[in-house]
Symmetry: C2
Subunit: 394 residues, 2 copies
């Protein structure tokens, strides 16, 4: 059937790394690979209570088709939370999506023509890269440092690269680097996007998972002319399994996302939206997020301490102030795909860094997740991994 597939489908290949990482689902493996929340923190009893209440009070509506835009009271509450974060918006600026991954897919569909270039941080989120690639774009990776994209390189990239529509960024606790953009860089990004009339896609799954210091204004909150599309999600603060995220954008742009959603899957689950909305009404969501932060902060501390003890000096990393990941850079000659094979033999897993560079060519980094494993396993896993690194890095 090969000749019948679209050009875009011919280009989609299964990830080799993904196949290897399927092995990490065995329970005896200590996995730092996925970006999974800690399941022991899921509000299971609350979920049961809201499921029953929604079905008792509005069962027919919860199981019926509803609007593409999403359940109005949930959109209202999201808008309010965003207002509290300094983003001026109301519920009509919010579209509910099936996780923020769907927002990324729609972004590709709405902006990318085959051959267009996407500007992104180097490294950047694998799932976004794959979502955009499905629309046959190429990538220009912009160099980053501990404050975010290097703006001179961003501007140079825009000038040198044909057919750029948007800049994709994760300004808070970036995946995979863990880095957070400074306010100055955020302002600079907006200015450059205005100068060259580009859209900014701000993907913010981790912003609420800050363990220390104070939040930095989101890029969307600095947006004065509706060029920032903000992607949010409840996957890291409530549950990824129920698949609820959102897009916040100007009316003109949001209308495109709504029309695309309509033809993509009609709507996100009516039941899940009502359950989440009810949860936000009846429970203290901020207290729930606080409890997640407390646990993750401790796990990161434990991982950091273990890395100091067990990792070779040649492993370079910054400890992030939030999020889910520590990014480790090893000497240039190291290929972490080879280290992964050895690690899995030793029942420990991570994601090799090469996957996060859309144009490839760098294999000496690894992404470690600290949210999903209990503290004692983190210590044990880092010890095992440290031993392998010391053996394999000569």
């Amino acid at each position: 059937m090969e000749h019948l597939y679209s050009e875009r489908a011919k280009a989609i290949k299964a990830s080799e790394i993904r196949e290897i990482l399927k092995l990490t689902q065995q329970p005896e493996i200590i996995s730092f690979a996925g970006g999974l929340p800690a399941p022991e923190l899921f509000p299971i009893e609350a979920m049961k209570a809201v499921a029953c209440k929604v079905l008792d009070e509005n069962g027919r509506e919860a199981l019926q088709y509803s609007t593409t835009e999403g359940f109005a009271p949930l959109r209202e509450k999201i808008a309010q939370r965003q207002n509290d974060m300094g983003i001026q918006c109301n519920r009509d600026d919010i579209l509910i999506t099936s996780g923020s991954q769907q927002g990324l897919d729609f972004t590709g569909k709405i902006f990318i023509n085959p051959g267009d270039y996407v500007l992104c941080e180097s490294p950047s989120y694998l799932g976004a890269v794959n979502a955009f690639k499905a629309y046959q774009c190429a990538f220009k990776e912009v160099e980053t440092d501990s404050e975010g994209m290097i703006l001179e390189d961003l501007e140079k990239s825009i000038i040198e690269t044909p057919n750029v529509k948007f800049v994709y960024v994760i300004p808070d606790f970036q995946n995979p680097s863990g880095r957070t953009w400074s306010l100055e860089r955020r302002r600079g990004l907006i200015k450059i996007a205005e100068k060259y009339n580009l859209v900014i896609i701000e993907d913010n799954p981790y912003g609420e998972l800050r363990f220390e210091g104070t939040s930095i204004a989101s890029v969307k909150s600095l947006d004065t002319d509706g060029r920032v599309v903000y992607l949010g999600t409840f996957s890291k603060t409530f549950s990824p399994g129920i698949r609820i995220g959102w897009v916040c954008a100007s009316p003109e742009i949001l209308n495109k996302y709504i029309l695309v959603k309509q033809s993509a899957d009609l709507q996100t689950s009516s039941l899940a939206q009502r359950e989440l909305s009810m949860f936000l009404d009846l429970y203290d969501f901020d207290a729930h997020i606080d409890s997640i932060r407390t646990v993750y902060k401790k796990r990161l501390q434990v991982m950091s301490d273990a890395m100091k003890r067990f990792f070779p000096d040649s492993a370079v990393y910054e400890i992030p102030k939030g999020g889910l990941f520590v990014w480790v850079i090893l000497p240039d000659h190291v290929d972490t795909r080879k280290i992964l094979v050895k690690a899995i033999e030793n029942k420990v897993a991570f994601v090799p860094g090469g996957s996060f560079y859309p144009n490839g060519g760098r294999e000496n980094a690894m992404r470690l997740n600290f949210s999903n494993m209990p503290e004692e396993k983190i210590v044990e896993g880092i010890e095992r991994l440290g031993k392998i690194l010391k053996e394999m890095i000569l």
Copy 2:
């Protein structure tokens, strides 16, 4: 921002009809417009019970990320049901999607290059047309009669039309026509697809809603070389609000759908899949479908009787043997968009037929849904509509 949108996004327009039909959500309107199931038949108490049981027994897994392919026990049960319908498959041939609309979107993504032609029944399902259109295809409508596509016209269309990848059909109680393909035509369709090496997309949301006679073998069950992609859904037999459908295809083709799903939204809700799977374990799903059939059959009878009484003789229709819709053809000069405006003034609604012809040009039909309104409202609505038709059709 107009210049930044992709060509496909520039082409997506809001439907005028859709905007008019938003008015039909007012409770005082008798709506024959949507394709909504009867909400009073939703298994609300069962849904509560399975939600609690799933969260009690596997709350962590139900709220966590899971595999793109879907929850294995649910896929197993779907495969078994399909085996019972004569489709040879196992769980690895099934991908869970967010409703079958998502299966349609993925079909467009996997097969359509800009400028390709999609062959479909004339008329065909609006949502499929929109999903495919988003990938910039054109349509060749194939003439149909009461037994399905006219095979001579299908073959002629394939020969005359460039860049055809697949034929899209709804062989059971078609949307909007209500027609069901004969076995002979199904066999003929397969033969022609083999001859010209095309894929068949068989969309079957209504097949289980048969009110009389015996089921006709699905096109997929006649497929010997893996060229039929079958799209199924629980929207009409369980609940559309929870958004669960599936794709059943050969390993090679299904692998494309899985990769596309991965970048589109990672996975369908873990919780919803486990709830539905538990429902299938604990309740008699076939008895539940029987109860839906009983109610819809009665509603269709009531609508049919009222149409005989109140519609002008110039309104031509066939009463279907199942599904959700009656398709009414009026004299050529009638524009049902104008009739809709008058109907809404009189608090009754339907979908004008023009929307179901992807190439437009025919405005003299209307689609009436009979599943969503109680019997007394059906009679009242048909009486009102009949009065308008008699006034407006001269």
